[in-house]
């Protein structure tokens, strides 16, 4: 699969005599390098979230006499959100299987449902935020609520960006077909979407489940 001719023209192509760590085949093909680079981005995004988690954990008791975690969070809502995002992530995987086999119809259907479940998640989350602001538990109420809205809102913003990306990819696949560079973008999208679900698992546990312990 990988050959020297596939390597980018600007890359280092070593023809053999000394061991440079790249072997005698030159750098990996773009189909490996691009998702790997995106994987590095996703990991750095997780480092960003770890800072927000650390902030939240430090400030969770700084409620300034305002509402505390167990008064604000509703486990039923959170369970539906979790389920929606998990199913969305699963269908995203199915879309990748279909895309690999260049099945236009199935790829579009799976991507549509990936986005639909992601949208369900987002609607519930926005509803939760609006409800909290209505009862006076907005981000300016206490340090705890500031860190809560920053952490969960940052994840919500990622989901929003992911939804726009899903829509863009559906249009691109439709218009341009399964060209290699389009498929690479789709692969990056799937990495992004699965990573968001991983971050949600941490939010579910640290914010919602531990926050509503009896």
């Amino acid at each position: 699969m990988t050959s020297v001719s596939e390597a980018p023209a600007v890359g280092l192509t070593h023809q053999g005599s000394e061991d440079t760590g790249l072997g005698n085949r030159g750098p990996q093909s773009k189909s490996i390098v691009v998702p790997y680079g995106f994987w590095l981005f996703v990991l750095s995004d997780m480092v960003l979230f770890s800072a927000l988690f650390a902030t939240y954990a430090s400030l969770v008791n700084a409620t300034d006499g305002g509402p505390v975690t167990s008064q604000l969070f509703d486990r039923t809502n959170v369970a539906i959100e979790t389920l929606a995002l998990l199913i969305s992530s699963f269908i995203c995987g199915l879309a990748m299987i279909a895309a690999k086999r260049k099945e236009m119809l199935w790829t579009q259907i799976f991507l549509f449902f990936t986005g639909l479940f992601g949208f369900v998640f987002l609607v519930i989350e926005i509803g939760e935020f609006v409800g909290m602001v209505r009862i006076g538990a907005g981000p300016q109420r206490s340090a705890f609520l500031s860190s809560f809205f920053t952490l969960v809102g940052c994840h919500g913003a990622h989901v929003t960006a992911g939804l726009l990306w899903i829509g863009t990819m559906m249009a691109q696949i439709w218009a341009k077909g399964f060209q290699p560079h389009i498929v690479r973008r789709l692969l990056c999208l799937s990495i992004f979407w699965h990573a968001l679900d991983i971050i949600w698992v941490a939010i579910l546990t640290i914010v919602y489940l531990i926050g509503t312990l009896p």
Partner: protein, 129 residues
């Protein structure tokens, strides 16, 4: 290492490989395990059958297990030789994440314990930053 290798040395993270059946089964197993772990998490959080102070630790262990399930079955990060780059990048990411989180929580806990004798005082101090 110099003999020609028809297989690529690396695989991209997130890319399913092998046949359509095995790829689908991987995602189904991942979904089933994730649902199971989520269900257990919700049960652990609501039951009174478990020792209270241990519940939070148990929930974090379950969450880490579920992240592992997502990594293996959805993102296809395995310990295979073709995955070394992805695993090493992940390991470094995990190291930084744990340093940031545990380091911050540790320092802030001791700061609060040394500065504020009562929770209310700690509360005020964190509010005023």
């Amino acid at each position: 290492m110099t003999e020609p290798d028809p297989e690529p040395l690396n695989v991209a993270p997130g890319e399913p490989h092998d046949t359509i059946i095995s790829e689908t089964i991987a995602y189904v197993i991942g979904l089933a395990l994730a649902l199971l772990l989520t269900g257990v998490s919700f049960w652990v959080a609501s039951t009174s059958a478990l020792w209270g102070p241990g519940v939070a630790v148990g929930l974090i262990v379950l969450a880490i297990a579920q992240m592992g399930v997502h990594l293996v079955f959805f993102l296809h990060i395995t310990s295979g030789p073709d995955n070394t780059n992805n695993v090493l990048a992940l390991a470094f990411g995990v190291l930084i994440v744990f340093l940031v989180m545990i380091g911050t929580i540790w320092i802030m806990y001791h700061l609060a314990a040394n500065m504020g004798p009562t929770p209310e005082m700690t509360n005020m101090m964190l509010q005023r930053g």
